[in-house]
Symmetry: C2
Subunit: 401 residues, 2 copies
């Protein structure tokens, strides 16, 4: 008998009716001779509502207490789903992250999974129960409740599937992975397959469908991850290992991210020590740097640009203030009015000139590029949000996305 | 340095402002050189709202899942209070029932506390933290989350105070214990002191202020329990050991309970075995029998009347059906339109004739009594709800309550 791990997101369990709908889908899958493990997010806007209360009380609520607060959301959804399954005649058991032994490490509100005690899940599966696990949460070495940050429930699902060596199905409010967001470009193509690597680049760039950590885990354990709609029965997209002999499209996908700000440091002393100290301080605050671009040194040092999530900007500013006090030559500039456009494709590995081709396209459209970084299968451009629509269009048409 | 355990009920933490108000009260007490342990209920109607969702999903949701669901309520309130204290500059830590090692036994939704691991609380108190504990909940031997049933947060507070051998203060939406409910009789007297025994009788009879389990624990560990308003600073009532030499009032209090139904069994075979089997079956279903009255045997057996909470009536009916099938001579009758009026007083021990006096009062007022039971310090009468107001009045006037 197969085990299947299914994950349903917040909007899929946003009401009593939707929870009942999810219960019916689980039962249908179970009746196809599967043992079911289900990972849930909190209902609809529940997490946001809880956070709103927290920020009414404090500008800077302790993150341990934030985790204590918001981890209740999944506990509500899992118990209600368990009741719905019971009412439909199927044995089920709901388990919190701590109960299922999801051990985490790292900072509160963005912890990482260290290990999962699959014995507990296997025990209940043997009792022929549908096991319902609270996504997004775990327990750290101090026995404090932790949460996994954005996309945490996807990560929980992938980690459990990895541990159980079984299929992972992510049901969400989109019906698969598109070459680019259909809201940005209505003619966007839905992909039947995408490689872990391409999806990783897409996810970390804000494709919005899945968080990169879940895909990394899928890749690590070589678990195919199926992404599909929790409402329709339209076929979704399978994220899996890339097939070596398959002729790859030059660009598989295009992603836009409006959540980052760009910080530029000028006159940084040309010393790897200063640069290292700077990024080390940012890392210690758990600030996610994405693009980094450093220009060749000039007389008065080097210039470094990098992007950080806007919601981590206040933490980053503290470091900026500290470092510019320590190194008074350095000045800094923050631009929040930017957007990041990235193109991803395994085909880039074997074919050159993609960056050049896009530069030409953007130039023809009169779009200014503020920053560029490249990797083996990805190129990212920082442009003005006002230019976003035009840029997406010219690239999508050219590369038949 | 003293330790003080304070408990705040649901209406005391029903909004952000009220939580902040509670935080200020805790800080004031802490500044009087006390180490603080605070037990909280869920915010306002939170538990009811969660239960409403559960019953939208199922007529009979599994009780394990009910506990999983409703235990989130306290987790929300404790984390918010911890944030409020932090914002006011005081270190605090919130802990769930499982985290604080509140081990429980018995059935889900009405578990009993077996033990508390006070080491965890003491450790955080030593770190000079205000320890905030989720009331009403614990963990059983299977590591499932459990809840303690009605008045559970009071029980949590008393149990922690008992374990720490310190004062217990219960803050609620009434400003103390009254001789009878002021809503029933506006001239009711507030008591400065009441003995554990009297309060136990008052509590189990629906005085509504505190649950009897908390008082039992107070009595067992000889911890005085102070009951007062969480809003006003009016002095409340201390529940403590009765002072032997104190001249006791004949009646300390009068309580009304509208939550019970009366079941009468007719033609029960005159055999202790049958009666025992009957009540044993009810006990196995955890049904709380309160009054039991058995009349002297006649030719066709004995008649037995007893009261059960109305919300346990459907469980009780299953037993009735089973037993009347097994013993076809027995017939039964259920009356839901009843109310229970009880008078309590340690003074009854030394003075006789209270029951007679009340019978006369009720007869003069034309009030029919359906059932009577007596104990050493309590007499209970089952009457019609329509007669309740009149009965309260004549007794309150006569005994100067």
């Amino acid at each position: 008998m197969n085990i299947v791990v299914q994950k349903y997101g917040g909007s899929s369990v946003g009401s009593i009716e939707r929870i009942q709908n999810v219960a019916r889908r689980i039962i249908a899958k179970k009746n196809q001779n599967n043992k079911m493990v289900v990972v849930l997010s909190a209902m609809g806007d529940n997490t946001d509502d809880l956070l709103k209360m927290a920020y009414q009380i404090s500008d800077k609520p302790p993150k341990r207490e934030i985790d204590m607060l918001i981890s209740t959301g999944e506990q509500v959804s899992i118990s209600l789903l368990s009741m719905a399954l019971d009412a439909m005649g199927h044995k089920a058991i709901s388990l919190t992250g701590p109960q299922v032994g999801i051990k985490t490490t790292g900072h509160h509100t963005k912890s990482r999974i260290m290990d999962i005690d699959d014995a507990i899940i296997r025990k209940y599966l043997k009792e022929d129960k549908i096991v319902i696990v609270a996504g997004f949460q775990g327990i750290n070495e101090k026995s404090d409740i932790t949460t996994l940050g954005r996309g945490g429930s996807d990560t929980t699902a992938a980690a459990i599937a990895g541990k159980l060596q079984c299929k992972c199905e992510i049901y969400t409010d989109v019906d698969g992975i598109y070459s680019l967001d259909p809201r940005l470009y209505p003619n966007a193509r839905k992909l039947d397959f995408i490689s872990y690597e391409e999806m990783l680049e897409m996810a970390s760039l804000g494709a919005g469908v899945m968080h990169s950590r879940a895909i990394e885990i899928g890749q690590k354990y070589n678990i195919p991850i199926y992404v599909a709609s929790s409402i329709n029965d339209v076929p979704g997209t399978i994220i899996k290992e890339s097939e070596k002999n398959m002729e790859s499209a030059l660009i598989t996908g295009l992603a836009i991210d409006n959540n980052d700000a760009m910080i530029t440091l000028n006159h940084v002393p040309y010393s790897i020590n200063v640069t290292a100290e700077f990024f080390d301080n940012l890392a210690k605050k758990d600030i996610n740097i994405d693009m980094i671009s450093q220009t060749s040194p000039q007389d008065n040092g080097v210039n470094i640009s990098f992007t950080v999530p806007k919601n981590e900007l206040s933490d980053a500013k503290e470091i900026l203030v500290y470092m510019t006090k320590k190194y008074p030559d350095i000045s800094y500039e923050i631009k929040e009015d930017i957007c990041k456009l990235s193109v991803v494709g395994i085909g880039m590995r074997s074919q050159s000139g993609v960056a050049a081709k896009i530069f030409v396209l953007l130039a023809k459209a009169g779009i200014q590029v503020e920053m560029v970084t490249t990797s083996e299968i990805k190129i990212s451009y920082v442009i003005k949000p006002a230019d976003q629509k035009k840029a997406v269009e010219v690239i999508a048409v050219e590369f038949e996305l």
